[in-house]
C-alpha cells in the first residue's frame, strides 16, 4: 500500500502459526521463513528486471536529452549500454552481474548503482530512524496513558488527533509545515554548504535540516504505535494477573510499569520491524517535499527515463530491506514472547 503507514493500521500481529510446531519447532519454523524469504528475493530479482522493461521511455533518448545527437550516435550509445541485445540476453547479463554482487551502472548518472545507493542510504536511514524512534516514544507514551484512562477526554482527544494526522496526506502535511514555520527551518536538503567544518556545527546544522521532514514523518507515523500500544495494553489489563496485582493493593502506576507495559510492548516491537522496511520506500513524498537526498528521492528520479539499472538495484534493495526486517520481526517474536516460545 501507499504512504508510509498504510498497511500499518491493521497490521497482522497475530503470533505466527507454527506449522508442525512440536519439538525443535522454532528452528524449523525459522528455517521455513528463511527459505520463504529467499524465494521472495528471487522473485523480486526477476520481477525487478521485467517490470521496468515495460515502462515507457527510451533510456538512450533520456541520456542525450537536449543534446544535438544524430541517429548514429544514438545507435552507438544503445549498443554501449547493451540495449540493442534481445531481452533474454539482457536478462542473462543482469543475473550474471547480480551473481557477482554488481548492480550495474546508472544510465543517467554514469556511476555504479551500488555507489549511488550507498550514498543515499545514509540520509534515509537517519530520517526514517529518528522519525521512527520519536514516533515510537510519542506513540507508546500517549498510548499507555490513553489505555490507562480509557474513555477519558485525554483518551478521546489523543487518539482522535493521532488518527487525524495519520489521515492527512504526508506531502500536504509537509508543505503546510514548510509554509507555517516561516524562516525557522531550512527549505531543503541535508546540510548548508556554508556550515563550518567540525563535528558540532555540522551535527547541529544537520539537526536543523532534519527537523521538518522528521516532524512530518512522526506526525504521520505515531498513530499506529499509539493504537497498537493502547489496544494491547487494554488486553493486558483484563488479564488475571493484573486484576490480582491490583487486588493486592499495588499502586496503579507501579502495576502499569512493572507488569502491563512490558507485556503490551511485544506487539509493538514486531510492528516496528514490520514497518521499518515499508517506511523507507514510503519516504518518497517527504523526501521530495524537503529535497532530502535519500533513497525515496533516488527512486523517483530513476523512474524518469527510465534508468533501468538504478531502478532494478533500488527495487532489489528496498524489497530486500523489507524481507530482512520481516525476518527480524519473526525472530524477535520467537525470542521475546514467552507464549510463542513455549509452543
Amino acid at each position: 500500500m501507499i504512504g508510509p503507514v498504510s498497511t500499518a493500521l491493521a497490521p497482522d500481529l497475530a503470533p505466527p502459526t507454527t506449522p508442525g510446531g512440536r519439538g525443535g519447532g522454532t528452528v524449523r519454523h525459522l528455517a521455513t521463513k528463511l527459505g520463504g524469504a529467499v524465494v521472495s528475493l528471487l522473485m523480486v530479482i526477476v520481477l525487478g528486471f521485467f517490470l521496468f522493461r515495460v515502462l515507457p521511455g527510451d533510456p538512450v533518448k533520456t541520456i542525450t536529452r537536449g543534446a544535438p545527437v544524430g541517429p548514429q550516435q544514438l545507435a552507438a550509445l544503445r549498443h554501449e549500454l547493451g540495449l540493442d541485445k534481445p531481452i533474454a540476453a539482457q536478462f542473462v547479463d543482469y543475473l550474471a552481474q547480480l551473481a557477482r554482487g554488481d548492480l550495474g551502472e546508472s544510465y543517467q548518472f554514469r556511476v555504479p548503482v551500488s555507489t549511488l545507493i550507498g550514498e543515499r542510504i545514509g540520509p534515509t536511514v537517519l530520517l526514517v530512524g529518528v522519525a521512527t524512534a520519536l514516533a515510537i516514544l510519542v506513540g507508546l507514551w500517549l498510548g499507555t496513558r490513553a489505555a490507562w484512562r480509557r474513555g477519558s477526554r485525554f483518551d478521546r482527544i489523543s487518539t482522535g488527533v493521532a488518527l487525524l494526522l495519520w489521515s492527512a496526506p504526508t506531502f500536504w502535511l509537509g508543505l503546510v509545515l514548510l509554509t507555517v514555520t516561516g524562516n525557522l527551518f531550512p527549505s531543503q536538503g541535508l546540510i548548508n554548504p556554508n556550515t563550518p567544518a567540525g563535528f558540532l556545527p555540522q551535527t547541529l546544522d544537520l539537526l536543523h535540516h532534519l527537523t521538518l521532514p522528521c516532524l512530518t514523518l512522526v506526525a504521520v507515523l505515531y498513530a499506529q504505535y499509539l493504537l497498537v500500544m493502547r489496544s494491547s495494553l487494554l488486553e493486558e489489563m483484563n488479564a488475571d494477573y493484573l486484576v490480582t496485582a491490583k487486588a493486592k493493593g499495588l499502586r496503579d502506576d507501579l502495576v502499569r510499569r512493572r507488569h502491563a507495559v512490558p507485556n503490551a510492548m511485544l506487539p509493538t516491537v514486531t510492528l516496528i520491524f514490520l514497518n521499518l522496511g515499508l517506511v523507507v520506500s514510503g519516504a518518497v513524498t517527504v523526501e521530495t517535499v524537503f529535497s532530502w537526498p535519500g533513497l525515496g528521492l533516488l527512486t523517483y528520479q530513476a523512474l524518469q527515463g527510465p534508468d533501468l539499472p538504478l531502478l532494478q538495484g533500488l527495487f532489489v534493495v528496498l524489497a530486500g530491506a523489507v524481507l530482512v526486517m520481516n525476518l527480524i520481526a519473526e525472530l524477535l517474536y520467537q525470542v521475546i514472547d514467552p507464549r510463542v516460545r513455549a509452543t
Binding site: F52, S167, G282
Partner: protein
C-alpha cells in the same frame, strides 16, 4: 410463516445478527461520528448535481478573479482560474470517493479470492498463493504503483488499478485466517458430510461468514486508497481531467498557491482528504471491534 424454510431461518438469523452488530456499533462514539460524517459526505457527493451548478467548474464560465480570498460570495475563495474552491472540493468528493471505492473493490476482490482459495483448498494451492501474497507484501508498493500508473494510460482507472493491485495482500491474509477459522467449525463439516461441493461451501457458508470482517477491512482500504490517489497525483501521475482532491492539491501547488499564500486553496482539499479518511478509519475500526470477538472483549 408456520413452516419457515431453512433459507428463511438462515436469513432471519442473519438479520438478527446484523441488528445486534448495529446496536453495538451505536455504542461506539467514534464509529458513530465516522458513519455520520461519511453519510453526510456521500449524500453531498451523490446529490451534488442537484444541489449545485456544475458550470462553475468550467474555467471559461468562472465568475471570480484568480486566487480571491474567501468572502461572502466565495466562502472558500477562488482558485487560480477564478473558480470557487468550495464548489471544487464538493465535486472533488465524487472523484475521490469513486477512486477510493473502485480501488478498494479491486483490492478486496483480489484479496478475498486469494485468501479464500488459499484457506479452502490448502496444500500446494495454499502454499503457492501465500508465497505469492508474502511476495507482494514485500514489494515497495509505492514504487510499484508509480511504475504501474506510468505504464497505463492516464486516467482514474490507471490510479484505481495501481492502488488496487498493490494493496490486496493484507486483505488476502486476513481473509485466509478468517476462512480457516470458519471452516474448522462443525457446521461446515456437516455440510461436507452432506455432500456439498466446493462452490456450495464457499458461497453459502464461507463467504457470508467472512463477509462482515472483509467489509470492516474494506473501509480501511478505502481510506488508504484515497491517500494513495492523492500521493500519486502529487507525484504528477494523476489524471488532470478528473478533478479529485489529490488533483486539486496538485493544481494548487502547480499554480503557485504556496508562494501566493493562498491557504484557502491549499488547506481545504487536504483537510477534506484527512476528514474522509478519518471517517472511514473510525467507522472501520468500530465495525471491526464489534465484529471481531477477540477485539470485542477489550
Amino acid at each position: 410463516m408456520s413452516t419457515p424454510s431453512p433459507t428463511a431461518i438462515a436469513w432471519q438469523r442473519r438479520r438478527a445478527a446484523v441488528g445486534r452488530v448495529w446496536q453495538e456499533f451505536l455504542s461506539d462514539r467514534g464509529g458513530l461520528f465516522g458513519l455520520a460524517a461519511l453519510s453526510l459526505i456521500v449524500a453531498l457527493a451523490v446529490f451534488a448535481p442537484l444541489l449545485s451548478d456544475a458550470s462553475g467548474l468550467d474555467p471559461t464560465h468562472a465568475t471570480g478573479r484568480p486566487l480571491e480570498a474567501p468572502s461572502g460570495h466565495f466562502l472558500l475563495g477562488t482558485d487560480n482560474l477564478g473558480r470557487s474552491v468550495l464548489l471544487q472540493v464538493w465535486w472533488g468528493a465524487r472523484i475521490s470517493l469513486l477512486v477510493g471505492v473502485l480501488a478498494t473493490l479491486v483490492s478486496v476482490g483480489i484479496g478475498t479470492l486469494v485468501g479464500v482459495a488459499a484457506a479452502h483448498f490448502g496444500g500446494w494451492t495454499s502454499a503457492v498463493l501465500m508465497r505469492f501474497t508474502d511476495f507482494f507484501l514485500v514489494l515497495p508498493s509505492l514504487v510499484l504503483a508509480i511504475a504501474l500508473s506510468t505504464v497505463l494510460n492516464r486516467g482514474i482507472f490507471a490510479i484505481v488499478l495501481a492502488v488496487g493491485v498493490t494493496s490486496w495482500p493484507s486483505t488476502a491474509r486476513l481473509v485466509r485466517a478468517q476462512t480457516l477459522a470458519v471452516e474448522s467449525r462443525p457446521y461446515i463439516e456437516r455440510a461436507w458430510a452432506l455432500g456439498a461441493g466446493h462452490v456450495h461451501v464457499i458461497i453459502r457458508h464461507v463467504l457470508p461468514a467472512v463477509a462482515a470482517l472483509v467489509f470492516a477491512n474494506t473501509t480501511l482500504t478505502v481510506a488508504n486508497s484515497i491517500i494513495a490517489e492523492s500521493t500519486l497525483s502529487f507525484l504528477g501521475l494523476g489524471d488532470p481531467n478528473a478533478a479529485s482532491w489529490g488533483e486539486m492539491l496538485n493544481a494548487a501547488l502547480g499554480s503557485g498557491a504556496v508562494t501566493y499564500g493562498a491557504w484557502w486553496y491549499l488547506l481545504p482539499p487536504g483537510l477534506a482528504i484527512a476528514l474522509v479518511v478519518l471517517a472511514f478509519m473510525l467507522a472501520g475500526r468500530a465495525l471491526e471491534t464489534v465484529l471481531n470477538p477477540r477485539l470485542r472483549e477489550r
